[in-house]
Amino acid sequence: MKLATTLPIDPEQVTAFSKAHGEPAWMTQIRQTALSRFDDLEFPQFERMNYRNWPLTNTQELTGVDSDPKLLDDIEMFHDDAAGVLIQFGKNTTKTQLDPELAQQGVVFTDIFTAEQKYPELLKQYYMQLAITADANKLTAFHAALMNNGAFVYVPKNVVIKKPLQGFYFQDSTQKQDFVHHLLLIADEGSEVTYLENYQTVGDTPNVANILAEVIAKDNSHVHFSAVDELSATSTTYLNRRGYLMNDAQIDWAIGAMNNGNIISDFDSELKGRGSHAEVNVVAIATGRQVQGIETRVTNYGKKTIGNILQHGVILERATLTFNGVGHIVKGARGSDAQQESRVLMLSNRAIGDANPILLIDENDVMAGHAASVGRVDEQQMYYLMSRGIDKATAERLVIRGFLGSVLMAIPVKAAREQLTATIERKLRDGQTTEND
């Protein structure tokens, strides 16, 4: 299969989908414009990542049928401590819950279609306008045209939310259905929020996923954004999270890239405002024969902006994991700081790993640094642990847990940390079992 360079979809079908969801005319227009622009746009390029043979734009089924919420019954979702919960499955929303006190203060946590109706001003202003634009490339245009579910978070000025808002987003692969999911999170001036999202797949039909998350951090806001991504082996995915930071805003990203299929993950922070700050922590595990390309980019536009990237990944079996770390300091961003560290551990002889630091510095008065390595589990550490009776597989998992720990610890919510720890443990065990075949 190859990337479709023209979209095999009828504009009428897109309009019909939009109407069926009661979308306002401006939204239908965004879709139609994106659709008409698709052919002229380019695919986004990522150094040392090649996805030309992935069916990322081969849309199969935009609408599909309603998803059966019973299929989620057996899936554990840790959210006891949440201030708000949103659960979506395929194109449906199965649960919306928000602390009434927060709702009273004007906090919004709802599905994107409801948001289009109830908060048109905010959506018109921000939905694919500022952080990510529909005409950026073919994959964003695809998204704008075919978005079929999503979430909207709004935190009003100076509101501080202590407990997390948690989104659980399930791709429905019990049927042929594109999973084109959007998140728009707006943290208004002086606000603070902890948001946690988890992507999973139900079913094993091969499907395309195209996921965009836009985080608008306005002046003096602070967003703690954690994600556990666990899409299945039969999903082929483009995932782009992008923060747009205004003056003195901060976003702390903590991302567990635990997907099982081929995926390009593109994590961006646009430090537009003076004094804005992004901390980006990524842990990844690649298993089976999957290819995971992860590009984490911080662009310093504003003066005295700070970007720190820390990515640690582990590869088992025949998987490929590529980390690009991009630190770009734009001319005029005086007094800025761009630091990055990318490390990859390979547990198998057939694993392919790559860690590329890319520094683009167009300003003199700045600080920048990078570290990157691709290596194997330390023999001395293994010998030491095993000399205490710990078997090889367990010793390996201990060393790896230590290696991934720095990022794990950056996740502010205990439930999410535990979920990610459990996922890591499971993926390592599964990978180790086949390793010894």
């Binding site: 009776g389 201990l398 720990g405």
Partner: protein
């Protein structure tokens, strides 16, 4: 009762600089649980090589001879299996592992010896840990620190003994556990080892200096030089060495090896 036998052990290593090098040239040694043996010898004579080879460090290749635990050869067993069979090595240079806490590691080590239905409970583990840390005069926070990460030389040694006390092997080899320790720390370490003494525990204490043996009194003392055990005796042999130096014994036995250092009594090394 368990026995550990080293028979005519020849060990070589391959290094980039020196190529193939024979280090142990036929070591013989037999010990049983209930006994404390000491091995003394000048630097560079193969003491660490012997202990690492018994434990199963893959760097060292056995070219001849055998190592038997309760009459059965362990040469084909990987290091973790030897550990579960009852061997323990307090290492001269323990590895540091970030992200894994001391407590978590100790629990994994204890549970590695138990089947799934008999894993140690958290309560039982903590009580046992607490008791042993008290004997060793260790700060409580050492349990939650990352394994050996940023530990001082002395803390690492104490932590090796803590592992010994938690794991309770049949045979422990202590490789220069006294190096870098001041007299108080050495007493604490000795207290830990002595608390293990009994019918089901044997120890092989490797040291360059006699001093430690004042606190852990051995039943048997072996002297190793140039890759061989050249003399075996009682605790008084250590005292004799202390008084006469390795050169004295070398000359008495007519062995032709250069000694890097002959000063047993310059035993005040720094913590490092």
């Amino acid at each position: 009762m368990s026995t550990l036998e080293v028979k005519n052990l020849h060990v070589a290593i391959d290094t980039q600089e020196e190529g193939h090098q024979e280090i142990l040239k036929g070591v013989n040694l037999t010990m049983s649980t209930g006994e404390i043996h000491a091995i003394m010898g000048p630097n560079g004579t193969g003491k660490s090589t012997l202990s690492e080879t018994i434990m199963g460090n893959p760097t060292y290749h056995v070219t001849d001879g055998d190592i038997l635990l309760d009459g059965k050869s362990i040469l084909n067993m990987p290091v973790d299996e030897r550990a579960r069979a009852g061997l323990f090595l307090a290492m001269q240079y323990p590895a540091e592992i970030a992200g894994v806490t001391n407590a978590e590691f100790l629990r994994a080590a204890i549970n590695a010896r138990r089947d799934d239905d008999h894993q140690i409970s958290v309560m039982e583990f903590l009580k046992f840990l607490d008791k042993n840390m008290k004997i060793l005069d260790m700060d409580e926070d050492m349990a939650e620190r990352y394994l050996n990460q940023g530990f001082s030389g002395g803390e690492k040694k104490r932590n090796e003994i803590l592992q010994l006390m938690m794991i309770q092997p049949s045979f422990a080899i202590l490789d220069e556990i006294d190096s870098g320790l001041d007299i108080d720390a050495m007493k604490v370490v000795a207290k830990g080892v002595n608390s293990m003494r009994g019918d089901n525990f044997g120890a092989l204490i490797i040291t360059h200096y006699q001093r430690l043996l004042n606190y852990i009194v051995p039943d048997v003392v072996h002297v190793i030089m140039d890759g061989r055990v050249v003399k075996t005796g009682g605790a008084d042999l250590a005292q004799k060495l202390e008084d006469e130096g390795y050169a004295g014994l070398r000359d008495e036995l007519g062995i032709d090896v250069p000694l890097v250092d002959d000063h047993l009594s310059t035993s005040t090394t720094k913590e490092g």
